[in-house]
């Protein structure tokens, strides 16, 4: 069976996207708790809501952004589409649609993961326990990635899953950089403060990049270097550059191995994505203090990439969805 139904390609893509999204929600909650704990004692969860543009939906149902409510909203609230439990449910539903294509191990792992989340109690993910909960979520997501790598037959479905994974990771990595950058900005009076805060180290740890960064930048920890590492270093699997490369590589494999056409608009988007992650001098990265704007642009390009995949491969009409 060399051909792949458009719907299945989309299911594979979203399955991987949602798992990646769940992992990144866990990462962001974890990074925010770290910052909140470092501060004068008042924990601030508003930035997480801002980051996901969820304020309106959140404040419709809750009075204030307390740790309790925000954490519930993002971990276990099934009515919130941006929660971990919703993401995993969606991943599972997409996997269910292609259950005859995915391996049994993949399905069982997602199913068990989902069922475990359904059994979480509030206290399991409140401050104090949050880090453990986030670790467990991350581990389950990484297990999924491993099971995909180790068991999924390497045809089109795998390529579309990888496309979903890298697009989502690119998006989330840029958000992680954004939140860290904004936290540091808001904390220091004169723009970027010195690195002694240790906050950028936390960012590195939460992106699982701390050791790699230490190895590549011994004694050279500046915020600019950290940001550049997360943006441009292709060897770091969660960097924006590595993700863009992943998108590019898998599309090319779809073309060379399975004869799928890469349309001119899609090519243009790929070029644009590459331009975003082309290495620039780290020292000048924060000069115009518009890292946020540049992350925003990058995220918009990712959205147009997603839309184009829908038109070119998932059988969606232009202008739909």
């Amino acid at each position: 069976m060399s051909s792949l139904l458009s719907r299945f390609a989309e299911n594979a893509y979203w399955m991987a996207r949602y798992v990646e999204r769940a992992e990144n929600v866990a990462r962001i909650l974890d990074v925010n708790e770290t910052f909140a704990r470092d501060s004068s004692g008042t924990s601030d969860w508003l930035p997480v809501l801002q980051l996901n543009s969820d304020e309106e939906r959140f404040f419709k149902r809750h009075k204030r952004a307390s740790a309790n409510e925000v954490l519930h909203f993002y971990v276990a609230d099934a009515a919130n589409p941006t929660s971990v439990v919703s993401a995993v449910r969606m991943a599972r539903e997409n996997a269910r649609s292609i259950r005859h294509i995915v391996s049994t191990e993949m399905w069982v792992q997602l199913n068990v993961f989902h069922n475990r989340l359904m059994r979480l109690k509030r206290t399991d993910y409140m401050p104090g326990n949050l880090s453990r909960a986030c670790d467990a979520i991350k581990e389950a997501c990484q297990t999924h990635a491993g099971v995909v790598e180790g068991t999924l037959y390497r045809d089109q479905a795998l390529r579309f899953a990888y496309l979903g994974r890298y697009l989502e990771r690119a998006d989330q990595s840029s958000r992680l950089i954004d939140i860290a950058y904004r936290r540091v900005l808001s904390r220091s009076d004169d723009g970027i403060g010195p690195i002694d805060s240790g906050e950028w180290n936390s960012v590195l740890r939460l992106a699982s990049g701390y050791h790699a960064f230490r190895r590549t930048h011994p004694g050279d920890t500046t915020p600019q270097n950290v940001a550049a590492f997360l943006m441009f270093d292709r060897r770091f699997p969660r960097s924006m550059a590595a993700c863009v490369q992943g998108v590019d590589f898998n599309l090319k494999r779809l073309h060379s191995e399975f004869g799928l056409r890469i349309s001119p608009p899609l090519r243009a988007i790929l070029r644009e994505l590459s331009a975003h992650v082309r290495r620039r001098a780290a020292s000048r990265l924060f000069d115009d203090a518009d890292l946020h704007g540049s992350m925003d642009e990058f995220q918009k390009t990712l959205i147009s990439c997603d839309t184009r995949l829908g038109i070119d491969y998932f059988g969606q009409e232009a202008g739909e969805g």
């Binding site: 792949l4 458009s6 539903e93 269910r96 259950r99 005859h100 069982v108 779809l254």
Partner: protein, 497 residues
């Protein structure tokens, strides 16, 4: 440890444990027929071996294995989903770990009997959609067929490959007090349940390898292969490698797990209506590389919803133009359109006559005695014995409107009598069957529970019957209802070599 060993040698030798005697030791079928306890079972060396193994298993061991099996079903997501206000609850079909055993002679009878019925159904369907000889000869009343809601006049004159209409048939069979096999119902539309046959076996092999060890049980695992072969046999002749697809209503269908299962076993895409389209009376599926031709569709969607152009206009599950492509022979559907008239409750009553008419053979498997109330004697008998009979309206499905005489009140019987007189054609009646039982794990005990059997027959050029079938078991004490919605579970079915 050594002291403990020396202290309890006597109990160990007897094969009992501290938890007490094995639950199977106190099993008694309670006056019903039970294939694990009848005289034949006593003399059958294989059945005796299974029984002696069950006799060595403590309640604790059985419970633990049952719990493992249930956890596995849950983790595998072999579940059906119940939706209620924002919540989804995944339920498993309860699996009973005590297998149901069918010996070689009994199976031979079922296999040939089912094959015979399928042959008769196909001959009947061909006839009623062509000349209608059986109607002209008055063997089956014409209005019963052409007036039937499941009769499809659109199928008149349409020729199907090898004359096969019912490619997949599930025949519901029970055993009565004497152990006779009786057909309760034919399912010739979209019978489901075969995935449980295979998954139950898989589960059994994992959770009870010691019970199966050395027992010559016939394999069920090649069902997907056989089904695929049959579907290839019925493909339109033009192309070298026909493309098969399984058409499902989608993830919200209660049998979705089975659709996934069969698509995977056959290695074919699991499509929904929206994945297919018809162009110049040919069927295509939408792939990432563009349209691809489809030759055979194993559809798990009812006739009504297949094609909004030909049948129900409000169907969103189907494919516009599919029926026209089918009628032109550009695609084959399995099962064929219009088979519902052959498994109808009223037509069922005529099945023994249909078998004799086309095959000139006596039915190998009997029907449950059925009194056709549209016939004078049938109505008279029914009215005279109303308190002893089960009366069923012919047009209803799923047990709806059935009156069980011995359980009905006087007022209910009087009302039924009135309805029977007013509209006898709408009813059949049957005696109460004392369904056979099988040993079933209930808590810490093994108790008798009522069972049925649904073997699956696959027909392309010829008919093949999967050696086994779905044994459903009514888990509540005394219950005769095996449906999963009403407390039914299932068992692995062992057909012995």
């Amino acid at each position: 440890m050594t002291t403990a060993k020396t202290k309890t040698p006597a109990t160990k030798r007897k094969g009992t444990t501290r938890q007490g005697a094995a639950p199977f030791a106190s099993y008694a079928p309670g006056g019903f027929f039970c294939a694990m306890s009848d005289e034949q079972a006593e003399t059958d060396p294989v059945v005796r071996r299974i029984r002696s193994r069950l006799l060595r298993m403590s309640a604790r061991k059985l419970r633990r294995r049952a719990a493992d099996a249930e956890a596995e079903l849950y983790n595998l997501g072999i579940t059906f989903t119940v939706y209620s206000q924002e919540r989804q609850i995944d339920r498993i079909l309860p699996f009973d770990i005590v297998p149901r055993v069918i010996n070689r002679e009994d199976w031979r009878r079922i296999e040939t009997g089912v094959t015979q019925r399928v042959a008769a159904m196909n001959a009947f369907l061909h006839d009623i959609y062509h000349g209608g000889k059986i109607l002209k000869d008055g063997v089956v009343p014409r209005d019963l067929v052409v007036g039937n809601a499941n009769y499809r006049p659109e199928m008149k004159g349409v020729d199907v490959p090898h004359g096969t209409y019912v490619h997949i048939c599930g025949t519901d069979i029970v055993r009565d007090d004497e152990g006779r096999f009786l057909v309760l119902e034919d399912n010739g539309r979209c019978p489901s349940g075969v995935s449980y046959v295979l998954e139950n076996r898989h589960l059994m092999m994992r959770s009870f390898p010691d019970l199966m060890e050395g027992i010559p049980v016939r394999k069920v695992e090649n069902y997907g292969h056989r089904l695929r072969q049959a579907l290839l046999e019925i493909a339109p002749p033009r192309r070298r490698t026909p493309q098969i697809a399984l058409l499902s209503p989608g993830v919200y269908n209660s049998a979705y797990f089975e659709h996934v299962f069969l698509a995977r076993e056959m290695g074919v895409p699991l499509v929904e209506g929206g994945d297919l389209f018809v162009d110049e009376d040919r069927v295509f599926m939408k792939t990432t590389a563009g349209p691809e031709r489809v030759d055979v569709i194993y559809r798990r969607i009812d006739d009504d919803f297949l094609d909004p152009k030909a049948f129900r206009r409000d169907s969103k599950l189907g494919v516009p133009g599919l029926f026209q492509a089918y009628r032109k022979g550009n695609v084959t559907l399995a099962n064929a359109v219009g088979t519902g008239v052959a498994d109808d409750k009223a037509v069922y009553a005529y099945m023994p006559r249909i078998i004799r008419y086309y095959l000139d053979q006596e039915p190998i498997l009997s029907n449950v005695d059925t009194h056709i109330c549209r016939e004078k004697e049938g109505l008279a008998y029914t009215l005279d014995n109303l308190d002893k009979l089960v009366v069923k309206p012919v047009g209803e499905a799923g047990g709806y409107g059935v009156v069980i005489g011995p359980c009905a009140s006087k007022a209910e019987l009087a009302e039924l009598r009135r309805q029977l007189r007013a509209d006898p054609e709408n009813y059949i009646s049957q005696p109460m069957i004392r369904l056979s039982v099988a040993p079933t794990l209930i808590g810490d005990r093994i108790e008798p529970r009522h069972i049925d059997l649904r073997p699956f027959a696959v027909t392309g050029r010829r008919t093949w019957v999967l050696p086994g079938g779905l044994t459903r078991v009514a888990l509540p004490r005394g219950s005769l209802v095996v449906n999963s919605s009403q407390g039914g579970g299932s068992k692995d079915t062992w057909v012995l070599e």
